[in-house]
């Protein structure tokens, strides 16, 4: 078990390094850097001026060195400005320090400086993640029980009318991406066309105080897409369990159907959905980005979109690190959890 965990952790770190390097490389391509130089030093500067600006701000080094600096394993660049003051990556990072540290990167806790929000990236990401965390929490509260109930109800009597109806509903919900269901929900519940106006079409006000009125639609939008998928997995696993020998034995012993489902089948049927729910996180991330953009809720997804749209390299890098880590950690948890939950799998 320990070697399994260590091997998984090693692969995870390697993956994270590769991915962050890819993102770093793609966000630091020459055209992007040129854009940064032009937005910081004026749009009309010449090509030579661009180059000297880039050299002065530490962008002229090879990509690998700069990746190392950003990561915090290579000493940050240093130089002197025109007025003779010492400049450098770590000077920008800790402007108050007498002697700035040699290393300042993600590992030391410095994530860079956002050119759009004029704030440290670390701070922005923590606030935004908090907002998204609230959204995700309510999504989970709505999605997991709903999906499990639908799946179990559909799977306990395979081929019945209830099963057919619920299966079709779950297919329909997987066929509706967030940007479609969001639009439909807004039109039905928040527009003047239908006239229900039960909820609000934006969640901007939810950032200050969450109410049922301003938060239900975004939560429902994200949850709907996931419900169908998890429900189908639960149904598949439930139908498999219901055909098992011990269920038949229990039925023949005279245990009532409700008891068979609740006490015998349910526990074994919920192992597979656990993995699926954990693996849903990366998909939820997509949903979060779309929904936050659609409902104008300024959380993590919204920040990612605005960072990418405004060529805010440091912020985009920070967001990608968080996204990648979330995906990898959930993969790890789902693997480890599966082994714990399923006694039939033993890893030597």
């Amino acid at each position: 078990m320990l070697t399994f965990l260590l091997r998984r952790l090693f692969t995870m770190v390697l993956t994270a390094l590769c991915l962050t390097f890819v993102v770093f490389y793609l966000t630091n391509l020459p055209p992007n850097l040129e854009k940064v130089a032009k937005s910081e030093a004026g749009a009309r500067i010449t090509d030579t001026e661009v180059e000297s600006w880039l050299a002065k701000h530490g962008y002229a080094q090879p990509v690998l060195v700069r990746y190392g600096e950003w990561l915090g394993v290579v000493p940050g660049w240093t130089g002197t400005s025109d007025s003779g003051k010492a400049t450098g990556r770590c000077v920008d990072a800790y402007p108050d320090a007498q002697t700035p540290p040699r290393f300042c990167g993600v590992l030391q806790g410095y994530w860079g400086f956002s050119t759009v929000f004029k704030e440290n990236v670390g701070g922005i990401i923590i606030t935004r993640l908090g907002l998204t965390g609230i959204l995700m929490f309510w999504v989970m509260v709505l999605m997991v029980p709903a999906a499990l109930i639908i799946g179990v109800l559909a799977g306990m009597r395979e081929g019945s009318k209830l099963d057919r109806t619920l299966s079709t509903v779950s297919i329909a919900s997987t066929a509706t991406p967030e940007y479609v269901s969001g639009v439909i929900l807004i039109v039905v519940f928040a527009s003047s066309l239908v006239g229900l106006k039960w909820f609000k079409g934006t969640a901007t006000s939810a950032m200050d105080g969450i109410t049922f009125e301003n938060f239900f639609l975004p939560v429902l939008t994200i949850a709907l897409y996931g419900i169908g998928y998890i429900a189908r997995m639960t149904r598949a696993s439930m139908t498999e369990v219901m055909t098992a020998q011990y269920i038949r034995t229990a039925r023949l012993k005279g245990v009532s159907f409700t008891n068979v489902v609740m006490k015998h089948a349910l526990r074994n049927a919920l192992i597979a959905p656990f993995t699926v729910i954990m693996l849903q996180f990366p998909w939820l991330l997509n949903g979060v980005v779309i929904t936050e953009t659609l409902f104008n809720y300024k959380g993590f997804g919204w920040t990612l979109v605005s960072a990418a749209g405004n060529n805010d390299i440091q912020l985009l890098l920070g967001c990608s690190v968080v996204a990648v880590v979330v995906v990898l950690v959930t993969q790890l948890i789902s693997d480890v959890g599966y082994v714990f939950l399923n006694p039939r799998i033993r890893i030597s």
Binding site: L26, P30, P31, T176, Y179, P282
Partner: protein
């Protein structure tokens, strides 16, 4: 001339699609008549769900084919008096109607929705085919040989899969990225796979008849190679290998990048599915029999294992086209890749969502269209799964 009511809107909507209904009726009549002779396709008509799904999918396919006959106005015609007008409004000249209203620039929502189906039907199945070619060409040896090759390829596949899709799109589908030529280099690599696949496929089967093989492979390489070069090379960009006169496929840079990134996102998943199937099938007796006969590894992979994995692959192919449609919509929704004037559904939803409280119809029409197509594909996949499990 007066405005349409809801009943008249439905009637106009229905009659406008007459070529599609005609084509659908013919397809169904022929298919049901000969369903016993048509294999898996014929069996589809035994399952209600499969039939409904197939009907929806074919509806959109025919809509894309006959789009020019169905539309009532040009997709870029702007009539300023028709801005945000509700469905069924009469044109200012009194001669025709905007069946589903006008959008924020006064264009016909109905015609744009119909033309939008073309973008999806052109890109989504093709991109899925390419993703399958890449996934199959890499997944077969990975599953068959296992070992180091498998470890490396699986690591790479997991690397791409761990990327949140939207982040990948935002990194790949930007004007700066088109400038660097990276998508074209990716196209150079990805589009090579169908050629490799077809050549290996034919070679492994016909290597005992060298003359026939040489002719077939030469044909594949000449025709396919030309198509490949024409697809990849584009004048005045980084990859301009073919002179303009021979370049018969002019793919604008932004369409190419959309295509490439969709293939890139889908290929690792296909790879994983194929690899899993091969790991399962390679322990079967008929594989051992072929090995004992002395067949080459590629013959076994392509002509023994692959045909026996077709059931799950066909089902996944349908689902994946649906998923690709969703991805295309996502790209349009974020205004990435396709031009903002393009009538594709994602872009139209994006343009319409900003005025949703005043005029919801420009956003809801393409949204429902996209949803119905994906739903149709999912139902079709479900029907196919049910029918293929039955044998």
């Amino acid at each position: 001339m007066q405005e349409y009511g809801w009943g008249a809107i439905c009637a106009a909507f229905f009659t406008q699609f007459w070529p599609v209904w005609l084509a659908l009726i013919i397809t169904y009549a022929v298919s049901i008549r000969y369903k016993r002779k048509l294999g898996l396709y014929g069996k589809l008509f035994d399952s209600t769900i499969g039939m409904i799904g197939f009907g929806i999918v074919m509806f959109w396919v025919f809509t894309a084919i006959f789009a020019d006959m169905i539309i009532t106005h040009g997709t870029l015609e702007q009539v300023s008096q028709m801005k945000n007008k509700s469905p069924g409004t009469v044109m200012p000249d009194g001669a025709s109607w905007y069946i589903l209203g006008g959008d924020h620039l006064g264009r016909d929502v109905f015609s744009r929705m119909v033309m939008g189906s073309r973008v999806v039907i052109e890109i989504a199945p093709m991109a899925t085919v390419f993703a399958f070619m890449v996934g199959i060409t890499l997944g077969l040896p990975a599953g068959y040989y296992s070992g180091k090759l498998d470890t490396i390829l699986s690591f790479l596949a997991n690397l791409i899969l761990a990327f949140p899709v939207i982040l990948l799109f935002y990194l790949l589908v930007t004007p700066e990225m088109v400038e660097t030529g990276l998508p074209q280099y990716m196209a150079v690599v990805l589009f090579l796979f169908p050629l490799i696949f077809l050549s290996v496929l034919l070679n492994s089967r016909y290597y005992v008849r060298p003359n026939l093989r040489n002719i077939m492979i030469a044909a594949v390489l000449v025709i396919g190679g030309w198509a490949y070069l024409a697809l990849v090379s584009e004048p005045d960009t980084r990859v301009a290998v073919l002179p303009e006169a021979f370049d018969f496929i002019a793919l604008p840079g932004n369409i190419l990048i959309v295509f490439v990134s969709v293939v890139f996102v889908n290929a690792p998943t296909v790879y994983r599915i194929i690899r899993g199937l091969v790991l399962d099938i390679k322990t079967r007796d008929y594989v051992a029999a072929a090995q004992t006969r002395g067949e080459g590894p590629w013959y076994i992979m392509l002509w023994e294992i692959l045909p026996n994995a077709r059931g799950p692959l066909i089902v996944d192919f349908c689902l994946r086209i649906g998923y690709t449609t969703i991805l295309l919509g996502t790209l349009g929704f974020f205004g990435l890749g396709l031009s903002p004037e393009s009538p594709d559904w994602g872009s139209t939803i994006n343009a319409g969502r900003k005025l949703m409280s005043i005029a919801p119809h420009p956003a809801i029409v393409p949204a429902l269209a996209l949803m119905s197509l994906v739903l149709g594909l999912n139902l079709l996949a479900d029907g196919l799964r049910e029918e293929s499990l039955r044998d």
